[in-house]
């Protein structure tokens, strides 16, 4: 457990996490950290346990071992809806918005934990619409009809409505055109500048490394690399991790 008195204690500290689905274990020993105003990129091959790690941090999957701490407060046993109130936001893979609801309804639902009435909450949507003007024009359209890029913007906007201190994004560029991927990454970089800590899972490794402050690599449910991004850039460490020469 990190000490709360340490000034530089990380926003999110995951230690020795093990998790999975029922009897099937997908993550054996994951440790990572995210600092406020920084981006930790979580890499790994398909099936390495990245999504399970995010789901366990969000509380959707139970932690079978290890601990999750947010601002040095242990939240390992906390139910998922309370973690949202505690400041954890997860944008799931595959643009999991409420497709039958409109953009506006999706964003309102994003602010569900704010404890505001609907009228006040509607005003709070303005910053999200400013950030994603395309959403503002179509606010009453069923979100299932939006383009993939717009759905991803909506998914991020929805998570931001809860005012998270930690935002986790699971492959936000998945299935999007290259120009849209650049837009998503620019959004992620802009969010970092606001002081939010970001944990980013991404297949588009090059694009992710451009915004990364820290890189963690998972393989078969275990962390095999965990370094500042500056150490990884231009070195063979990442390729070594991916191709298994580190072990």
């Amino acid at each position: 457990m990190s000490s709360p008195t340490t000034v530089a204690s990380p926003l999110l500290e995951v230690r020795g996490l093990a998790s999975g689905y029922g009897d099937i274990r997908a993550v054996w020993d994951a440790s990572l950290q995210v600092r406020a105003g920084e981006i930790t990129v979580l890499l790994g091959r398909n099936g390495a346990g990245k999504t399970t790690t995010l789901r366990a941090i969000a509380g959707l999957n139970r932690a079978d071992a290890g601990s999750v701490a947010l601002r040095a407060r242990d939240i390992t046993g906390m139910p998922p809806h309370q973690r949202v109130r505690a400041g954890i936001g997860l944008v799931q893979e595959g643009k999991r918005i409420f497709r039958r609801r409109t953009i506006e309804e999706n964003l309102l639902l994003g602010g569900y934990t704010r404890g505001l009435n609907k009228r006040k909450l509607l005003v709070e949507l303005d910053p999200i619409y400013e950030m994603f003007p395309a959403l503002a024009q179509r606010r009453h359209v069923a979100s299932g009809q939006l383009s993939g890029g717009q759905q991803q913007m909506l998914a991020i906007g929805q998570a931001l409505m809860a005012q998270p201190s930690l935002l986790m994004l699971d492959e936000p560029s998945g299935g999007l055109a290259p120009s849209v991927v650049a837009e998503v990454m620019a959004t992620v970089a802009a969010l970092k500048a606001t002081g939010i800590g970001i944990l980013l899972v991404e297949q588009a490794v090059a694009a992710a490394l451009e915004v990364a402050d820290r890189v963690t690599v998972l393989d078969v449910g275990r962390v095999i690399l965990d370094r500042p991004a500056t150490d990884v850039a231009g070195s063979d460490a990442l390729a070594d991790a991916y191709f298994g020469r580190l072990r």
Partner: protein, 285 residues
Amino acid sequence: MTPIWSGLSIGAVYALIAIGYNVVFIAYTTFNFAHAQLMMFAIFVTYWGLVVAELPVLLIFAIAAVGVGLIALLEEFVAIRPVKGAHAHLVTTLGMATLLDGTTRLIWGDQVLKVPAVGSDATFTLLGGRISVPEVVLVVSVVAIAVAMIVYSRRSLTGLALLAMAEDRDAALLRGINVKRLALGAFVFTGVLAGLTGPLVGPKTFAVSTLAAALALKGFVALAIGGFGSLPGALLGGFLVGLVESLTGRWLGSQLPTIMVFVVLLLILMLKPTGLFGTTRERMV
């Protein structure tokens, strides 16, 4: 016109049952096969309050709402919460239904008991057909309740949260929605609603221990016609079943109403398998 008024008013009862099924379906993606029993219990409580204990009307509404709401609360803890999946709930809620049927018989016996109207029971002629005041009150109340629920589910944050939960439970959890508590609230609400509407339904159906079985069947047909999960569908499905039943009985003979109800059900499901207002479940990957 008399068979039409009669069909609409019994249809309102079916619609109420279908709405009860629907709210639980939206909240749990499962069915509460004891819902008609909750309604029946409320009707017997009304009989007891008006005829046996001779209580003031408002008190009867309150007792029925609180009492049946508590039964629903109990049911959620013993029949819904401990097991997962619609198949398991089929068994547990049918068990609850049997228990409530038996309890009703133990307390009130097997006789058909006439439930007086809570207000005027005058009959009058409307557009050439005979209709009673309680029937008008019943139809108007059910339409008003359904419309209010539809508006609430689309306009309020809690209603939105309920619809979101029905669409994607994990995603709802990630928005900070306490899905267990919200679902429990919806379940208890169906009990309270059955309690509040029991006194309106009683004069139409009478109180008899076999009532719930009949209401459950027709209510479920109304639900299937309207489409699982759709409140407007439940309302229209209920009226349609009531009208088909009443008009068939009037024009084709008294043996045929139930058969015709199922013929209509099959026809609609052949033309539109999801029901009139149902939507298919989809998920993008």
